[in-house]
Amino acid sequence: MSDDQTRWHVYDVTMREGAPPLRARLAELLDLSDEEALASLRRLAAARMLVLQPGTEEILMAGPFSAVPTPFRVTLKAFSCYANCIWDALGIAATMQVDAEIDTSCADCGAFASISVHSGEVLGDGFMHFALPPRLWWQDIVFT
């Protein structure tokens, strides 16, 4: 078993269903013990390919997808899912190479915003704000 296989299964489930698998399912898919699956996830997280949840060490982020609900809901023809941030919301449309509807809101005033990706073009007004420079993103990727 290689970590590449783990990554393949993580993204295969995520890209077919919209959310990363729990570790127990991943262990079953890979025919691994829970300890072996956890060790593989930890290595992928150390390599910054995934982000794990504190405590449970289940997958929190398989960029651009989120394992938990966020203010960035993305609806595709196949499923609805959540992105980690507005950039990742656009990233889901990019990685899936399909049209997408993004439901979010202005972080300041809370006004609802609907953004579309249609035939390779983004439709909608507004801005993404990067609060931290990229050299600091991984110091606290959840805040980022």
Binding site: G63, L90, M128, F130, P133
Partner: protein, 72 residues
């Protein structure tokens, strides 16, 4: 990275939360960044994270050349 309706809303939010204003990118430019950053299928065996130099090249390609985007 959060979404804002306008630059004015970003400035107000930064003031409220006592944060320095970072980089603001119009959605259309953000879409270009998303396509480059996430355009590859991460199931592919050949997929790997970009090196620092490759990331710098992506930023340069998109015109992100201010010190904010400096990785070193």
């Amino acid at each position: 990275m959060l979404f804002f309706r306008s630059e004015e809303h970003i400035e107000r939010w930064c003031t409220t939360w006592r944060l320095d204003k970072g980089a603001l990118i119009p959605l259309a430019q953000g879409w270009e960044l998303a396509k480059v950053w996430y355009g590859e299928d991460r199931r592919e065996p050949s997929w790997r994270r970009r090196t620092l130099e490759e990331t710098e090249a992506v930023f340069a390609q998109l015109g992100f050349t201010s010190d904010f985007w400096n990785l070193r």
